[in-house]
C-alpha cells in the first residue's frame, strides 16, 4: 500500500465531502447515514441514495403527468408526490432537494400551476446534480479502498 497515495486520496475525499455540506447539498442526516455504514455494509449509503434517486425519477415523472394539462391538474396527486419527495430527501440528507420541496408544497397549496412547474424543473435539476456529486464521492471512496486505505469518518459541524 502506498501510504502517500492513500493519504492524498483521503484528503481529497475529506475536502470534497466537506464542500458538499458547505454548498448545502447535504445536511446532518447524511452524516447519520454514514454512521450506519461499516466494513460489513460498505455499500449502505450508496444503496440508500440509489433508492432515493430512483424514487425522485419516478415521482417527478408522475407529478409531471399530473401537471401536464392546465385544465385538469390533480393538485392532490402533486401534493402527495411532493410530500413523499420531501420525506425521502429529508431521510437521506439531500438538503437542496428538500428545500425545493418546501417551496413546491407552497405552490401546490395555492394551486399555482406555473409555480409548481418551476419547482418541478428545479427539483429535477437538484436531484440530478446531487447524483453526479455523490457519484464522484463514491468514486473517491473506491479509489481509497483500492489503494488499500480506509474511508475516513469525518465530523461535520
Amino acid at each position: 500500500m502506498n501510504t502517500v497515495v492513500v493519504a492524498q486520496l483521503q484528503r481529497q475525499f475529506q475536502e470534497y465531502l466537506v464542500s458538499l455540506y458547505q454548498q448545502g447539498f447535504l445536511d446532518n442526516q447524511f452524516t447519520e447515514l454514514r454512521k450506519l455504514q461499516d466494513e460489513g455494509t460498505p455499500d449502505f449509503v450508496a444503496e440508500v441514495v440509489s433508492l432515493f434517486f430512483d424514487d425522485c425519477s419516478k415521482l417527478i415523472n408522475s407529478m409531471s403527468r399530473s401537471l401536464g394539462r392546465p385544465e385538469s391538474v390533480d393538485f392532490k396527486q402533486v401534493d402527495s408526490g411532493v410530500h413523499q419527495l420531501k420525506g425521502s430527501s429529508s431521510s437521506v440528507g439531500a438538503r437542496r432537494v428538500k428545500n425545493v420541496c418546501i417551496s413546491f408544497k407552497e405552490c401546490c397549496d395555492v394551486q399555482n400551476r406555473e409555480g409548481c412547474l418551476r419547482c418541478l424543473q428545479q427539483v429535477d435539476y437538484e436531484y440530478k446534480m446531487l447524483k453526479t456529486k455523490l457519484e464522484d464521492l463514491f468514486n473517491l471512496e473506491q479509489q481509497i479502498l483500492q489503494a488499500g486505505g480506509t474511508i475516513p469518518q469525518i465530523n461535520i459541524n
Binding site: 442526516q29 447519520e32 447515514l33 454512521k35 450506519l36 455494509t41 449502505f44 444503496e47 440508500v48 433508492l51 432515493f52 424514487d55 402527495s80 410530500h83 413523499q84 420531501k86 420525506g87 425521502s88 429529508s90 431521510s91 437521506v92 440528507g93
Partner: protein, 184 residues
Amino acid sequence: MALGDLSSSSTSELHVLAVDDSIVDRKVIERLLRISACKVTTVESGTRALQYLGLDGDKGSSGLKDLKVNLIVTDYSMPGLTGYELLKKIKESSAFREIPVVIMSSENIQPRIEQCMTEGAEDFLLKPVKLADVKRLKELIMRGGEAEQEKTSNLIISSPKRILQNNFFFNIFFIITIIVIFIA
C-alpha cells in the same frame, strides 16, 4: 432457519415490525434497527402489517409470521391505512394490544402526537429518525415494566422530539388570560 417456537422472552433480541410506504425510509429504519441488534421485518403498508400479524381475517396468512413481534414501528402518513388507524386496530386486538407501537412522522403536529399517545402509542418519533432515537427506543422497550413509570415522566420532561413544553407555556398563558379577564 426454523425459528417457529423462538419466544422473545428467552432472547434479548427484539423482533421489530417496521411499517413505511417509503422504500428509502424502510431501508434506513431497517439498518437503524439491525445496528441496534434487533431482528427486523419491513412491510410497505398498514394492510400488509395486519396481514403479517394475521389480523386481517384471512386465515391463510397467519402462517407468514414465524417470530413473535416485540415492537411495531410505523409511519403515520401512509396511503390506505394510516399509522394511527393501524395503531387502533392493534390496540383493539386482544392478541396484539400488548405490543408497543411507535409512530414516526415528518410533521411535528401536537394534536396528532396527542391523538396517538392517547390511543396507546408507546412513543412518537420525528423523522428523519437517527441512531440515537432507536437506541433510546430500544432501551425504553427492553426495560419493559420499569418503563411504565419512566414513560410517563419522559413524556412530561421536554425532549427535542416532542414539544410538550409548548403545552406548559400555553397553560401559563391561558391562566394569565383568565386572571386578566377576572380582574377586568
